[in-house]
Subunit: 424 residues, 2 copies
Amino acid sequence: MKTMSFVLHGDLCDSRDPQHLRTIRDGFLVCEEGVCAGAFPVLPEQYAHLPLLNCAGRLIIPGLTDLHVHAPQYTYRALGMDLELLEWLKVNTFPEEARYADPDYARRAYGLFVEDLKRSATTRAVIFATVHRESTELLMDLLDRSGLAAFVGKVNMDRDCPDGLREDTASSIAETKWWLAETVGKYDRVFPILTPRFIPTCTDGLLAALGELAAETGVPVQSHLSENQGEVELVRSLCPDAAFYGDAYDRFGLFGSHGSCVMAHCVHSTQAELERMKERGVFVAHCPQSNVNIASGAAPARRYLDEGLNMGLGTDVAGGFSLSILRAMADAVQCSKLRWRLQDQALKPLTAAEAFWLGTAGGGAFFGKVGRFLPGYDFDAVVLDDRRLAAARPFTLEERLERAIYLSDERDIEKKFVMGTELF
Amino acid sequence: MKTMSFVLHGDLCDSRDPQHLRTIRDGFLVCEEGVCAGAFPVLPEQYAHLPLLNCAGRLIIPGLTDLHVHAPQYTYRALGMDLELLEWLKVNTFPEEARYADPDYARRAYGLFVEDLKRSATTRAVIFATVHRESTELLMDLLDRSGLAAFVGKVNMDRDCPDGLREDTASSIAETKWWLAETVGKYDRVFPILTPRFIPTCTDGLLAALGELAAETGVPVQSHLSENQGEVELVRSLCPDAAFYGDAYDRFGLFGSHGSCVMAHCVHSTQAELERMKERGVFVAHCPQSNVNIASGAAPARRYLDEGLNMGLGTDVAGGFSLSILRAMADAVQCSKLRWRLQDQALKPLTAAEAFWLGTAGGGAFFGKVGRFLPGYDFDAVVLDDRRLAAARPFTLEERLERAIYLSDERDIEKKFVMGTELF
């Protein structure tokens, strides 16, 4: 993999803003040393000397960002989804995650995960590993070799989980420091992210220590927030002093006060929680498929979008069974429709263009200038061959994008670029 | 295509009843002249002389039935789904269906539809065509050549639709009689089905004449029922004398009193409507994806299943964007979960086993003894190679089926049989 300068020629589509697409049929997308120099209907003279990759007739979209995915759960995706969150964790999740104490198992299982992620339309992901430092580093190595960009978290948890997975507080901190020492600055595109699993499995002592680490290092933070009603009640009883669920992170500096922060789900967030998130710039990882599968509910993504919260999409494998962010876009639209019909007609359904924004620019922003074809943005792009979806009549570029969101899969991905390097 | 007698060897999975699977690892499925002779863990001596098709390691399931799909809408699936039913018909459906006045367009578009249906796990379908007799017969010819089994309906509508599609009552009846004369008994596996589009586009005169045809010929009937709230109100105002929506069909003998009848959707059916359906044996075509996409709501499939209504799954392309009944199974489970969470916790979500029943035995029953591996049932089977879904650990046969429901697609279909003949 070598970062290059070149021009990609094809049918370009990115977001102008959350509501509107920008499309350029037979356009030119310029990459200069891994950075986008712009998207043009006619190639400007100053780029005429660059090599041209001819993808005429193909759909070219920004790389997609998965803001929330559990790599170790990929093995059992699409299984045993007749349970709600807290039971589901006990029955499905913890026994599988315990296997990652064995680096050989981790190498095999993470290998399949990274291979499938590489073949998908996702170019960037924010990933939960397990509590195991060694396996987590192994996952980071695999991601680094794949060319994908990622934040990866060694999970912390020191209560209310099975013996094999429960860390004692001191060693959880020590392992985390060791892991940070080994991985901060090690890779070009793969970075550690602090990962208290969620309030129910983390003592105050652990959270306080992680908050101090966040303050010292500026390493970002990911966790879960207000996913399930039973979980929200549990947190209320565990943290009677917290004003709301998110406040239980915030009082330890784990809610965006020391650096970037992304919280998965936010299905049942209160207005006070949302206000704090806005204040702190906390990202929402909206995971519609998972929220349906484990019957958590339907997050009010329309409200978050209208109120200007930072937000992107997550697959939340294995609460979600699909690793595809294209599918997550479709799920987000569908979920918002059923929410509108069954729960609250004040919140209009999301449009396909809005879901596309979330899966590209919305989530991409967690990584910086990512997810749009604007000058200065990282050159992340996916070339989709949508001829498999051909029909008896032609479609506009906007229509082709909508059809790709609903109908395409990894078979249709012809090329993929992260920061200007071609992954396959 | 020649009907044969043979033994299929592999990992068998069908339904014991709506709640329970029957699985036989390394089993033997016997076909005698197109009819299933049973599924066995050890091959009985009397079948030892039959040729053996070795599909060891493959998942073998009954062929799937799509109880409701609009063939002409396949062209624009996954497009323009930001509208509700009545608007959606005007903006998307009618302009596209008008193109089928041209047999050349129909040949091309229906060709793509039938090719994709053939490659899917669906072996049987109940299909809406358009008002055009010639194109409808063309579709039936294509289906016949494909080896799939189907009921196909020339649509009737004589009001409240654009000029190019609106029939006058007399010619609608005349064309329908002509079409029946040409197609009844013409094919082995493809049959006509009377198809008044729905109450809003059919005058009483048309319905009365179709009811007479149903009584005279015994040809079955398909239509739409209680899909959308606006539609239900419209029917109420159009038919003030009908006790409920379904009664507006029933008073003309188009609700199962003269032969088989399937009604799509039933999202907003009243208890009185359900009682009448039970009395008449009317099938529900449950179309969860469509009901979400055009925001109709979530049908109480759990209630229908518990109350013993005849029910199967429909893709309802292009209200649904996917032609896959495996996907419809997953959608049915997901939809029931969100309905449980957001609308009515008295109705438990469907399980994967129940959704599998609906997509096999439930819908298959509309065709007779179809959708199970029992002696005397038509030999419809799908051989799925699920190795693409491999993970770091092995799975039970039940688990493999659940994963196939959520994760597999037409790529994984290795062989497909309808009434004992192999389609590819």
